[in-house]
Amino acid sequence: MFSIWRLEMAKVKIKDRDGGEHTLEAPNGVPLMETLRDEDMDVEGTCGGICSCGTCHVYVDAAWVDRLAAKGEDEEMMLEAIGEVVEVRPNSRLSCQIEMNDELEGLVVEVGPVA
């Protein structure tokens, strides 16, 4: 409740498109996409989180795949659609659908390729 006053953060490890590694603080309750976008990880997140642009695609580290909430139908469809222009793997996710929480402390993801 009212956590906007003092957001709890989880540390996430990000591999950018050039292979650079970053540790970022991602606020709980906020989609990971917004942190990637706002921290200049070259993630556009154009559609704002409604699974219609596919620009926040990430590869989730194998150890974390099963610890994330399952994909919804809209995310599945968007991942399928971007599969026509970039490589989509079993560990592909849209980072707008990864809402951060304490359980995700230490999450490791790699920013997906540009469509």
Binding site: C47, C51, S52, C53, G54, D74, M77, M78, E80, A81, I82, E84, V85, A115
Partner: protein, 334 residues
């Protein structure tokens, strides 16, 4: 005052003129000849603005004006491309069913575009030289189809329909209620007697027979009525397709036709007389058509949800219950 009459002292300040939403149904939009191929127009009906367009193949679309992308009004600067409407803002295209058909720059089409229509579109049925649309408050699919009206489909044997148009400052439910209010025909219209009427409600249809076949009518939902007036073996047909403009205004529209009779014959004169009498006073009659008398009531009345009815009144209560089913999904109840 007793409990069952507690509403009677409600008056000017308590009653509403038209407390109803727009009912579901097939409604007339415009005559076919008023929409050319590749034309886009804005129309105000059913309590909102819509765009109406006709594709190159002749197919008609009626949709919400505002592009689902960034909200541009497609009736101002939109263009027909093939059978699609193209938004002026970023050239996104939509077909008559509201499906997105083109986004000219995205590398990946949003999946929702392939899954469902994204622009609200009304089902359209064009027949009898008229464009009809199906409206439902929740966008449900049509719950019935438009009927066949042989008199409008047989140009060889029936005269070219004569058309009429009148504006009434009231809701379509109030206008249609006169169709079951048999007593008003005696007093407001000045008929000699309250007509004998047999009727049945069979949602979405209402059937009525007045004076043993003299007037036989059928309502096909709120937006279409067919009435046949017969006299000495001659029948004239009135097709009424009233449009709700908004919650308090309607345009009453009608077409009148009858079989082709040779000019000057008795049959031709009876048919013309019958048509004349449907609208206004006919020569040699004392009673009035709706043109002179109904509007003064419609345009000024208020709706009494609990009317004080007496024996001799028509089936007002059954009619209202029947009609309320056309509001299903709108949240309105009697």
């Amino acid at each position: 005052m007793s409990d069952s009459h507690a509403n009677l002292n409600k008056g000017a300040k308590d009653l509403a003129r038209c407390p109803f939403p727009i009912p579901m149904g097939w409604f007339f939009v415009d005559y076919s000849e008023n929409l050319a191929k590749e034309e886009v127009r804005n129309v105000n009906v059913l309590d909102q603005e819509w765009i109406l367009f006709r594709g190159e193949s002749g197919k008609v679309g009626m949709t919400d004006p505002y592009c689902p992308h960034l909200g541009a009004h497609m009736g101002h600067g939109g263009k027909v491309c093939g059978d699609n409407i193209r938004c002026p803002f970023h050239h996104w295209q939509y077909d008559a069913e509201g499906w997105n058909k083109d986004i000219p720059y995205g590398k990946v089409t949003p999946p929702i575009c392939k899954k469902q229509p994204i622009l609200r579109a009304l089902p359209v049925d064009e027949r009898w030289g008229m464009i009809f649309c199906w409206y439902h408050p929740n966008g449900d699919e049509p719950k019935w189809e438009l009927p066949s009206i042989p008199e409008l489909e047989d140009a060889e044997n029936y005269v070219k329909p004569h058309r009429g148009e009148w504006t009434a400052a009231t809701a379509i439910q109030e206008i249609a209620e006169n169709g079951v209010d048999f007593a008003h025909l005696r007093f407001l219209h000045g008929e000699k007697e309250i007509p004998h009427a047999e009727y049945s409600f069979d949602w979405p249809y209402y059937n009525v027979d007045m004076n043993h076949g003299h007037i036989v009518g059928k309502m096909f939902g709120p937006g279409l009525n067919v009435y046949k007036f017969s006299h000495e073996g001659v029948t004239a047909t009135m097709v009424n397709y009233t449009q709700p403009v908004d919650r308090e205004n309607s345009v009453i529209r009608m077409s009148f036709t009858h079989k082709k009779y040779e000019e000057g014959t008795k049959e031709a004169m009876i048919a013309q007389h019958l048509v004349q009498h449907m609208v206004g006073s006919a020569d040699g009659e004392d009673s009035a058509g709706f043109e002179e008398v109904d509007f003064i009531v419609w345009n000024n009345k208020k709706y009494r949800p609990n009317p004080l009815l007496c024996d001799g009144d028509g089936p007002i209560v059954q009619y209202r219950k029947f009609f309320s089913k056309f509001y299903e999904g709108s949240g309105y109840s009697e």
